[in-house]
């Protein structure tokens, strides 16, 4: 969400931009449209957002929009996936950076990175975690698919469970669902910018199904200050 090409969205590239390879220009126009879609939809709500709003913010012509996207919904869905690309990459970076730590601490690090980014981008967080559930079937199925992308981070938790033989098959979905619902409630209550405050709760909710209550509470305390 923070690429240089989008830092000045109102400005149409001129002069020097002509020297850039055409593929780069196309890509950056696309990125500008995706970011503009997110900004406008986050500010006005998806329903009220028009393609005209989006192309104005992006500084891109209607013809360019039409060449790239079939309609508003197609642009939104692609932008939506892009948000999760960024979220997942952010979580993965924190998770990998803690590679020498035990799995529960890596999970805490990943969750910490997640709430950091969501609270910094509170408007986009609201759009992608809350409003999306009201934006029709296509958007909702993207939302479910996006959440499933967090599953691989949890796989190793099975090795930490004392019940490894019979840990329920749905454990990852249960853990992710618990944390997601807490995030949903906080953002919906207007506390998105202070999402970091529930990090200990999220750590407990994700780890408890794997570690049991006592070990999960220890990890919760570790992130409580």
């Amino acid at each position: 969400m923070d690429s240089p090409s989008t830092s000045n969205p109102g400005e149409v590239p001129t002069g020097g931009a002509q020297a850039l390879p055409r593929a780069y220009l196309v890509r950056s126009q696309r990125e500008r449209l995706l970011e503009a879609m997110l900004r406008v939809a986050a500010a006005k709500g998806y329903e009220a957002t028009t393609v005209t709003d989006v192309i104005e913010i992006a500084g891109v012509s209607q013809a360019t929009f039409d060449a790239m996207f079939e309609d508003k919904a197609a642009c939104f869905l692609e932008a939506y996936d892009a948000v999760f690309d960024v979220l997942i990459a952010h979580v993965a970076t924190a998770f990998e950076a803690a590679a020498d730590e035990p799995w529960p601490e890596r999970i805490a690090a990943g969750l910490g990175a997640l709430v950091d980014l969501l609270s910094t981008e509170a408007e986009i967080a609201r759009l992608s975690m809350v409003e999306v559930t009201a934006a029709g079937d296509d958007a909702r199925s993207r939302y479910r698919a996006a959440l499933a992308r967090f599953t691989p981070f949890l796989e190793e938790g099975r090795d930490y469970s004392s019940q490894v033989e019979e840990l329920p098959a749905d454990t990852a979905r249960f853990a992710i669902g618990g944390a997601t619902s807490m995030i949903f409630d906080e953002i919906r209550a207007g506390r998105g910018p202070e999402l970091k405050r529930i990090l200990p709760d999220l750590v407990f909710a994700v780890l408890m199904p794997y570690l049991g209550p006592e070990a999960a509470e220890d990890e919760m305390r570790r992130v409580t200050r």
Binding site: P168, A175, D201, E217, T224
Partner: protein
């Protein structure tokens, strides 16, 4: 930890640990003042469950119930108002199903097993109704979400009454119950939203495991899971 404190205050205010009472009284059954009104509510849930909230219309409800347009508007201002009442009605019915199944049990674990089992049976029996309540409420605006939160809060309060159960050994953090309810909800929601119409009954052992684990420990949770599978 403002959130935890708030949870504690609310739980205390509602006094959910009271013996004998499982889920609180179904709040909306009394709202249905006439058979005609009930037909409309049931029709609305069926239409929304089958077609989705956005597609559902008053016309579809009329076609399904065989009522005249005026009959609908005598009772409800519009589709939104009707759905919100239908949501309360449907949720109250689900709560009544769970409560009456649980009423025959006297331990928390027995009540949970019976109540949750009855709820999952109800989902299995009528997945369209479940979809109308669990999935489509998200399309019904902030008021729908507020009522959904209230319903989840009632389940959360029941779950958390486990910390007062005489045989309970653990005192998990206050957030534990919310995490359990949210997790179970997520698993059910994902199945319903994906259009699945079976396999709900089979969730009981896993759900018992997750709910028992924080209050009674891993051995008890495994035993519950095994018992629910039998």
């Amino acid at each position: 930890m403002g959130k935890q404190a708030a949870t504690k205050v609310q739980a205390g205010a509602e006094g959910t640990g009271a013996a004998g009472k499982v889920l609180p009284e179904a709040p909306a059954l009394r709202l249905v003042s006439s058979p005609k009104r009930q037909r409309i509510l049931e029709g609305m849930l069926e239409v929304v469950g089958t077609n989705g909230y956005d597609t559902a219309s008053v016309r579809m409800v009329l076609d399904l119930t065989g009522l005249y347009r005026q009959a609908f508007y005598d009772e409800f201002a519009d589709k939104d108002a009707c759905y919100l009442e239908a949501f309360d009605f449907g949720v109250a019915r689900m709560e009544a199903v769970a409560s009456s199944a649980a009423a025959e049990q006297d331990s928390w674990r027995g009540q949970l097993r019976a109540g949750l089992g009855a709820l999952l049976e109800a989902l299995e029996a009528d997945p369209d109704l479940a979809r109308a309540l669990v999935v489509e409420v998200h399309a019904a605006g902030p008021e729908g979400l507020r009522r959904r939160s209230q319903a989840m809060k009632r389940v959360t309060d029941f779950i958390d009454s486990a910390r007062h159960a005489p045989e309970g050994g653990e005192s998990p953090p206050p957030i534990a119950a919310e995490g359990i309810v949210a997790g179970m909800h997520a698993v059910v929601h994902a199945k319903l939203a994906a259009g699945e119409s079976e396999g709900f009954r089979e969730l009981l052992p896993d759900f018992m495991y997750f709910a028992v684990l924080p209050y009674f420990g891993a051995d008890a949770a495994s035993a519950e899971m095994a018992a629910a599978r039998a």
